[in-house]
């Protein structure tokens, strides 16, 4: 295909200014790469998780899902005998803490004879060398069949043993074979009876997988079966759990996507800067082309084509980088970038054609949008004037811009008040885009305002001030990239600081005791019976103990899993990190923000909670902040829970110590009394340190990427000033004729650069405060369902903005240096 004849005139110009072009391409590539990598990484992990869930569910058409503590196994008979059901397979799922090493085991207790008809992939395969009759190995009560991935994670092979916390004590399980049907998933199966008796789940089931008779639709079956189920037990399609996992990690993805947007927006503004400057410099050329017959529309299309080339090259490069980056991150951190959402899956990288195409298109869009205003300016050049030489494209300030900026800000305020769409804070993102757009529109006015207030005692600052006031358009060209990157960097900084601060305070509230004892978290694999509880309370040095009972129950129309926490609570719930008003009520339940959002209930509302197979009426006494469980959690007074369920067991204990002892001493006594591995013991300081370390590690990568975006924004200022300085050689030369020293010309450029950057930085931080507000109050609230206290890290932001301004002034001076050297004096002499 032959290129159109004017290609060298236009696209060739990109090559002539290749440094600036390269910067634009790089910024776009960074944004595309980052966004795509996040998608690939997350997508691969989700894909794997999804597949894992489907495989676990196998051919099941429907699943009956109960609370973590299970439901009575008599329900199984009812379901299995139902005329619409072809086959049913009972499952007890538990998570067991490993004692002879680190980690947890997800164990499914299955009925071998029944699983065959519903979910053949869960059939255990005994190892050849297993003792006794291999066919009966699967029925042995200590036989464990871990999937290949789990064997690898645990570092065990068939014939070896694993020690886990089980019920009141421990269980020594033999790896009797494997689970080849579940290659990628970290899961194990055991005989259902062994799990029920060994892990405190006697006569309980957590799940029943159903296969329906041929020709029976799942909707019809749901309708027929739902009335058989006791409260708290749900019917679901097997892929619903995958959808919930997706919404969990989506929340984490929000922040990373934000960073991709930073880079893309900065890239778009860089394209704008370089294109605007290049159009200004080529106006005589364009005037000539127009004079010899090129029409406006074609000229405009050509300049857009330049932006398209920049965007496409950046997009393609970013695509390649994205896959490379994803592969690297995978090999280093795993599918959730170290955040811990996908523990238990082993994803592999895959090609994502839709996401790739989408992000390359975004890159192209950045190139095109960045070229839009310059292209229009070029098309508007009056050939007669431009041929004479001296017009300046886009330099003047339009009073209309201030009005448009206000409209943008007002629209952003409205958008921030809108609800999420399908769980995604679309309007929140729109608000951020509107704030940025308004900022760019207001930037010219802001710089003129700043310039007018600059002390103008010296001729250099006076000239700089006059120039910035008269040509705010040039400031917009040079500083838009800096403003965008500064705005988003400041916003991220505030968001992360607010988040970290809130998590810190939250940890303070939720860890009031001196020592924490854990038999198991929210599963039933290990517990403390009343006798054990009494023995713990009687340990020397323990002044008081709060026992905690965990369960996973199913609540709401979607039957989503909710963590139930039964613990001692005062009537006013003061032990909980409450947000907003709380009120004393008769049958109180305190719900987390995520649950409040999901159920659409608040303080004072009634809530029915299924406990031990029956519904009980409660009233929401308050809403609390929970950074640990995004699917939602609720707190009940322990005494009430025991009264309603008859379940006196506990999973965890918070120990308050007598004054004269310390945590280490008491921990030593507990170990001596119960054995070293029976419980996990941790001090709050340690929990807090580990939590914050994970937090900091998760966000460390964000700072690095922000720095890259800011560096590109700075490079943009340097490139803009280099281009402007080259165009202003004659001006500098004339000033030298009039008696300005080289130093004064340098000071003038520095003042212009500093003021331009200051306008970008000041404007950017103003926008940053607003964007952070949207991130904290709208985007995070809607995607994570938790609130945080808005906190501005003033010192770091101040240092950042000052450094940015100084660096930009230095960049401007360095860029202008070659234009004010000795030869600049002769610049005017070209006319002599």
């Amino acid at each position: 295909m032959a290129l159109p004849p004017l290609t060298p005139v236009f696209v060739g110009s990109l090559w002539r200014r290749r440094t600036a072009s390269a910067l634009s391409v790089l910024a776009i590539a960074l944004g595309v790469a980052l966004g795509l990598a996040v998608q690939i990484i997350n997508g691969a992990a989700l894909d794997e998780f999804d597949r894992g869930m489907r495989v676990v569910a196998g051919e099941a058409d429907l699943q009956v899902l109960g609370p973590g503590s299970g439901f009575d196994d008599s329900l199984f008979e009812t379901l299995a005998l139902h005329p619409l059901v072809a086959a049913a397979s009972p499952v007890v799922e538990i998570t067991a803490r490993r004692i002879d090493g680190a980690g947890e085991l997800r164990i499914l207790g299955i009925d071998i004879l029944r699983v065959v008809a519903v979910n053949p992939k869960l059939i255990p395969v005994p190892a050849d060398g297993a003792d006794g009759d291999a066919r009966f190995a699967a029925f042995r009560q200590d036989a464990l069949f871990p999937s290949p991935a789990l064997q690898q994670a645990l570092g065990v092979v068939p014939g070896e043993h694993v020690l886990v916390a089980a019920g009141q004590g421990r269980a020594r399980l033999e790896v009797a074979g494997g689970l080849p049907g579940m290659a990628g998933e970290r899961v194990a199966v055991m005989d259902i009876h062994a799990v029920q008796t060994g892990f405190g789940m006697a006569a309980r089931l957590t799940r029943v997988d159903l296969r329906l008779r041929d020709g029976v639709g799942s909707d019809a079956a749901r309708e027929a079966l739902v009335s058989l189920l006791p409260p708290g037990v749900r019917l679901g399609a097997p892929d619903e759990s995958a959808a919930r996992a997706a919404s969990l990690s989506r929340a984490y993805r929000v922040n990373l996507t934000m960073l991709a947007v930073i880079a893309l927006v900065t890239g778009g503004f860089l394209v704008f800067s370089t294109q605007a400057l290049s159009v200004a410099r080529r106006q005589t050329e364009f005037a000539f082309l127009r004079a010899i017959g090129l029409d406006r529309a074609t000229l405009m299309r050509w300049i857009l084509a330049e932006g398209l080339v920049l965007g496409a090259v950046g997009g393609a490069l970013g695509c390649a980088l994205g896959y490379g980056f994803a592969a690297l991150v995978f090999s280093l951190l795993g599918g959730d970038l170290g955040a811990g959402y996908f523990d238990g899956t082993e994803p592999s990288i895959y090609i994502a054609p839709v996401a790739s195409l989408a992000f390359v298109s975004l890159g192209v869009a950045a190139g095109l949008l960045g070229s839009w205003a310059p292209a229009r300016a070029a098309a508007r050049i009056a050939p007669a004037l431009a041929l004479k030489g001296a017009t300046l494209v886009g330099a003047a300030h339009h009073p209309g811009h201030a009005v448009a900026a206000l409209v943008c800000f007002a629209a952003a305020g409205l958008a921030a008040a809108l609800p999420p769409v399908d769980g995604i804070p679309v309007a929140g993102y729109a608000a951020i885009a509107l704030i940025l757009a308004g900022g760019v529109l207001a930037l010219g006015g802001l710089s003129a305002w700043l310039a007018a207030r600059m002390p103008a005692r010296h001729v250099a600052t006076r000239l700089a001030s006059a120039r910035l006031q008269a040509m705010p358009g040039h400031v917009v060209v040079a500083a838009a990239g800096v403003m965008a990157s500064a705005a988003l960097a400041v916003a991220m900084a505030i968001m992360v600081a607010s988040f970290r601060d809130s998590v810190d305070q939250w940890l303070d509230r939720v860890l009031p005791a001196a020592l924490y004892l854990r038999a198991a978290e929210s599963d039933q694999a290990a517990y403390l019976d009343p006798a054990t509880q009494r023995r713990i309370a009687a340990i020397e040095g323990v002044s008081a103990v709060d026992f905690l009972r965990y369960d996973t129950i199913r609540l709401g129309a979607d039957g989503g899993a909710v963590t139930l926490i039964a613990r001692p609570v005062s009537d006013d719930g003061r032990e909980l990190p409450l947000v907003g008003a709380a009120r004393p009520v008769a049958q109180p339940v305190w719900i987390s923000e995520a649950l409040a959002d999901r159920l659409g209930v608040g303080t004072g509302d009634a809530l029915e909670i299924p406990l031990a197979g029956a519904l009980h009426a409660f009233t929401v006494a308050g809403v609390w902040r929970d950074y640990a469980r995004q699917t939602g959690a609720l707190v009940l007074p322990l005494a009430r829970y025991r009264q309603l369920t008859g379940d006196a067991r506990a999973n965890n204990a918070a120990l308050h110590l007598a004054l004269e002892t310390d945590a280490a001493t008491v921990a030593g006594r507990i170990r001596a009394h119960f054995g070293a591995e029976r419980f996990e013991l941790s001090a709050p300081d340690e929990i807090r340190r580990i939590s914050l370390r994970i937090f900091d590690r998760t966000f460390a990568v964000t700072y690095l990427l922000e720095a890259a975006a800011v560096a590109i924004g700075l490079a943009g200022i340097a490139a803009s000033f280099a281009a402007m300085a080259a165009a202003r050689r004659k001006e500098f030369g004339m000033l030298r004729h009039l008696g300005l020293s080289r130093r004064q010309v340098g000071a003038m450029i520095a003042a212009e650069g500093g003021l331009t950057a200051a306008a970008g930085a000041v404007g950017g931080s103003g926008l940053g405060f607003a964007i952070a507000l949207v991130l904290v109050e709208v985007v995070n609230r809607q995607s994570f369902h938790w609130s945080m206290d808005y906190r501005i890290p003033l010192l770091p932001i101040g240092v950042f903005l000052t450094a940015l301004t100084v660096l930009a002034a230095v960049a401007a001076v360095l860029a202008g240096r070659h234009a004010m050297g000795g030869s600049a004096v002769r610049a005017v002499s070209e006319d002599w």
């Binding site: 300046l392 330099a395 001729v459 004659k730 004339m734 004729h737 009039l738 300005l740 006319d831 002599w832």
Partner: protein, 222 residues
């Protein structure tokens, strides 16, 4: 009084040659001298040397008895600031300054009071026929008007020496005549020395004296 004695300027390198070769010139205050010559004769080179933007290989330039060629870089910059006015073929009026600011620019460099500067600039603009346009921007002006602004700027700080290199090169002949008359009137009134470089004999005729630069020296034009 401008005195130039035995001025020599050679350019080294390939194609380098002696452009000015023992050139001498003396000009009284209150008069304008026009220098004509072919393109490449060395007219701009001579002006660069007089303006202390370039250093001669030999000879001496003195204004009112001060030897310019003996000054160092900083002193030369200061000297230009105080004693010189420039008029360029391409005007070089700063587009982002108002006419008043453009004219006041040399005064800004000398320091002092803003209001005084503005008043002086306004007076100067009135003298070149631009009264009432003080707050206009250069983009609103024609070429002839821009050169009037340049003349005002060249004279506002009462320089001893005004250097004009092809000041009418970008203007049509009728406009050029007016501008040159204005330049002459202003220079004479200020009691300054004017050096007008042009290749047009017609333009040169507005001067008190016409000299031709050829073979590196000045000679009276026919």
């Amino acid at each position: 009084m401008l005195e130039i004695e035995n001025l020599t300027r050679r350019f080294a390198g390939p194609g380098g040659r002696t452009v000015l070769d023992g050139l001498s010139l003396a000009v009284e205050a209150g008069s304008i001298v026009a220098i004509v010559g072919e393109s490449g004769a060395g007219k701009s080179t001579l002006l660069n040397l007089i303006a202390a933007l370039d250093v001669p290989d030999g000879g001496r330039i003195a204004l009112d008895g001060v030897a310019v060629s003996a000054l160092d870089e900083a002193a030369r910059t200061a000297w230009r600031r105080d004693h010189l006015g420039f008029i360029f073929q391409a005007f070089h009026v700063l587009p982002h300054l108002s006419l008043r600011q453009n004219v006041a620019l040399p005064l800004w460099l000398q320091g002092g009071d803003d209001a005084t500067h503005a008043a002086a600039a306004d007076r100067m603009l009135a003298r070149v026929g631009l009264a009432g346009r003080e707050d206009s921007r250069p983009a609103e002006l024609s070429g002839g008007e821009l050169q009037r602004v340049a003349i005002a700027r060249a004279l506002v700080h009462r320089p001893r020496l005004v250097l004009a290199d092809e000041p009418t090169g970008n203007l049509d002949p009728s406009r050029a005549g007016q501008i040159l008359a204005l330049l002459r009137a202003q220079v004479v009134e200020a009691g300054a020395i004017g050096l007008l470089v042009t290749h047009s004999l017609e333009a040169a005729r507005t001067a008190d004296r016409i000299l031709r630069l050829a073979d590196g020296r000045l000679a009276a034009a026919p």
